[in-house]
């Protein structure tokens, strides 16, 4: 383990990762039962990225999230009840049921939103970085993007703006090897995604996205720089999504062996094993935490299912301030 942490911190990280995992497994259930409708891109397998990165932040820092945003929302402090309700389109959701899975947001926690547009958060993140600079608040903005999103034009424009103006924005590239079905090898002229930082005059590092502490350490170092006015950076996190891209994905583009390999790098198992091995947590602590989280998720699910849909009059509200 790359940094020494205390028991409380260990529990916090583990709990957050478990919350994300169980939240996503539950959504998969709800989709299968048609209780959840529409699409959901699940974060299971990538938990260490969101939790590790968010561990480096202050509550007033900003993030922009992606189409695969449940994990970011949870890690940034979103309430499970409200998130679950939002995914079901309920009035009690964090966006009153108007956003849904692809638009989970919670500005009060600094989460500027998931995004149905791949790369949709990139320019927004640059603007949030600029706003920090102009308001002189020493906040930072984390901009989460997938490997696939790095090929969008707005990636280039935004990183160039951030690089030129030395804005406090850190890019967290979640390299899960595929953008939908297209592997990085076939979508990107370079597979070493850290090379994509070169034209923007920002440092980049690649870490295991299955190791929550590795992610945290890398992000933390850059966040410190950014707060000190030393500009932006990129952290590429190698990771894997367990489920298909979306519910209907038969996953023909990847192999069982590959899936198995990554299942062995499970971020929750790795982290809890290490904590136990190093005596920070007992096996019992881990099991109890798992139970506790199970309960949380059950409650959130119940809350969401029992919540009402928005009233019909809501159709026309919230368009303008």
């Amino acid at each position: 383990m790359s940094t020494s942490i205390d028991k409380g911190t260990a529990i916090f990280y583990l709990q957050k990762m478990m919350e994300i995992r169980q939240f996503e497994d539950k959504i998969m259930d709800l989709l299968a039962q048609n209780i959840a409708e529409g699409g959901s891109h699940l974060y299971a397998g990538e938990e260490a990225v969101a939790v590790g990165a968010m561990a480096a932040l202050r509550p007033d820092d900003f993030i922009t999230s992606t189409h695969r945003g449940h994990g970011h929302a949870i890690a940034k402090g979103g309430k499970l009840n409200e998130l679950m309700a939002e995914i079901l389109g309920k009035a009690t959701g964090c966006c009153k049921g108007k956003g849904g899975s692809l638009h989970l947001a919670d500005v009060s926690t600094g989460n500027l939103g998931a995004n149905g547009i791949v790369g949709g958060g990139l320019a927004m993140a640059a603007g949030a970085g600029l706003s920090i600079k102009l308001r002189k608040t020493e906040q930072v903005t984390l901009c989460f993007i997938g490997d696939g999103a790095t090929n969008q034009g707005v990636f280039h424009e935004s990183l160039n703006m951030v690089g030129t103006w030395r804005l406090p924005v850190i890019y967290i590239v979640e390299n899960n090897l595929y953008g939908m079905s297209v592997s990085v090898k076939r979508a990107s002229a370079v597979t070493d995604l850290a090379k994509k930082a070169v034209p923007y005059n920002m440092p980049a590092v690649t870490v295991s996205g299955q190791d929550v502490l590795a992610v945290k350490d890398a992000v933390e170092a850059y966040v410190k720089n950014a707060r000190a006015g030393k500009g932006p950076a990129m952290v590429v996190c190698d990771t894997y999504r367990y489920y298909g891209h979306s519910r209907s994905d038969p996953r023909v583009y990847r192999t069982k062996e590959e899936e198995k390999y990554w299942a062995e790098q499970d971020p929750i198992k790795l982290f809890s094993a290490k904590c136990v091995k190093e005596g920070l947590l007992s096996q019992k602590d881990v099991e109890e935490l798992d139970k506790f989280v199970e309960n949380e998720i059950e409650e959130a699910t119940k809350f969401a299912i029992e919540s009402p849909l928005p009233g019909d009059a809501e159709l026309y509200t919230d368009l303008f301030a």
């Binding site: 108007k98 547009i117 090929n151 034009g153 023909v252 928005p310 809501e314 159709l315």
Partner: protein, 324 residues
């Protein structure tokens, strides 16, 4: 006649034209190995190989713009944009490059390019995956806009589009993919720019396209039972607009309802209403009525999504109001 699904009709059109003409090729996000987000291109990669069925990076501007580059240098690309909602990213390519190049060059090039995309609501996917943006495209001189509602039209019009020497935006609807209809096994091509009277009637004219057209047909069927004879026109092509067919019908029925899923304000129904007024003012016994999408981003909540777009009932209501 055999019945096949809308997606399959499109798939067949692609396969047939690719077989016939080696300069036709496909590119887009997840069109090859995956076979398309809505599986429209399934099997084509296996059949035509890597070179002619190409998975691209997520980069809508390059996909569409590269389509143009290939089209003016000897190929006939069919590019796919997964959701019409993403066309904003490629709007400059479409408007400033694709639509204008031939005119700007004094006619010295041609652009045999098809941009296939998909739109519409119905799957509670929220504001970024449910839009109907055809009105933007109809406000760009130099492109044609096709929006078929049946498997038969989808196949015949796509084949025509691929053979055209002009750029075409061809928009499918996500809720139509699994609808079935008769499609001949023998080859056929349909004319771009011709509306189709899907049902004859004499009391009122209903104009629509894409999924909403099916709602109109159902509404017309039910209204018929109530003694109201509705003529239903499927535009099929929005640009160029077959205004003559609409005006001809209005001269007979004297009443017109236009229905579409897109936002009402600035939607294409307004253009049709204005043209009908210009060309058939004296024939109109009532104002042209529009049944359109609510002027809001598509909400996630399933009840609100349903409220936000036209359906059989709201169409029937508009017809009755106009006849009242």
């Amino acid at each position: 006649m055999r019945e096949i699904a809308y997606w399959q009709a499109i798939n067949e059109a692609l396969a047939e034209e690719m077989t016939k003409d080696p300069s036709v090729f496909i590119m887009g996000e997840d069109v090859a190995i995956y076979g398309g987000a809505y599986a429209v291109t399934r099997g084509l990669h296996a059949k035509f190989g890597d070179e002619r069925v190409r998975d691209t990076a997520i980069s809508e501007a390059a996909i569409v713009g590269a389509g143009l580059g290939a089209a003016i240098t000897g190929m006939r690309p069919v590019v796919e944009i997964m959701y019409v909602d993403f066309m904003g990213i490629a709007m400059d390519q479409l408007n400033n490059q694709i639509a204008k190049i031939r005119y700007m060059f004094g006619g010295k090039t041609k652009v045999p390019l098809v941009i296939r995309t998909e739109g519409g609501a119905g799957r509670t996917l929220g504001a970024h995956h449910s839009q109907s943006l055809e009105a933007w495209f109809t406000h760009i001189p130099g492109i044609k806009v096709v929006m078929p509602s049946t498997p038969y039209d989808a196949k015949g019009l796509l084949k025509a589009a691929i053979r055209e020497d002009n750029p075409i935006v061809y928009i499918e609807h996500k809720m139509l993919y699994n609808t079935k209809g008769p499609v001949p096994e023998t080859e056929y091509v349909l004319p771009i720019g011709k509306a189709d009277v899907k049902k004859q009637g004499k009391d009122i004219t209903l104009v629509s396209w894409s999924l909403t057209l099916l709602h109109c047909l159902k509404a017309a069927e039910e209204l018929e039972k109530e003694g109201i004879s509705v003529e239903v026109i499927d535009l099929r092509t929005l640009a160029p607009l077959d205004i003559d067919t609409i005006v001809g019908s209005v001269q007979k029925t004297h009443r017109l309802v236009i229905a579409h899923e897109a936002w009402k304000t600035g939607g294409f129904a307004g253009e049709i209403a204005a043209q009908v007024m210009e060309k058939a003012f004296d024939h109109l016994d009532a104002p042209v009525s529009r049944v359109c999408g609510a002027d809001v981003p598509m909400p996630k909540a399933p009840n609100l999504e349903r409220l936000a777009i036209p359906n059989k009932e709201t169409i029937k209501k508009a017809v009755k109001e106009l006849l009242a």
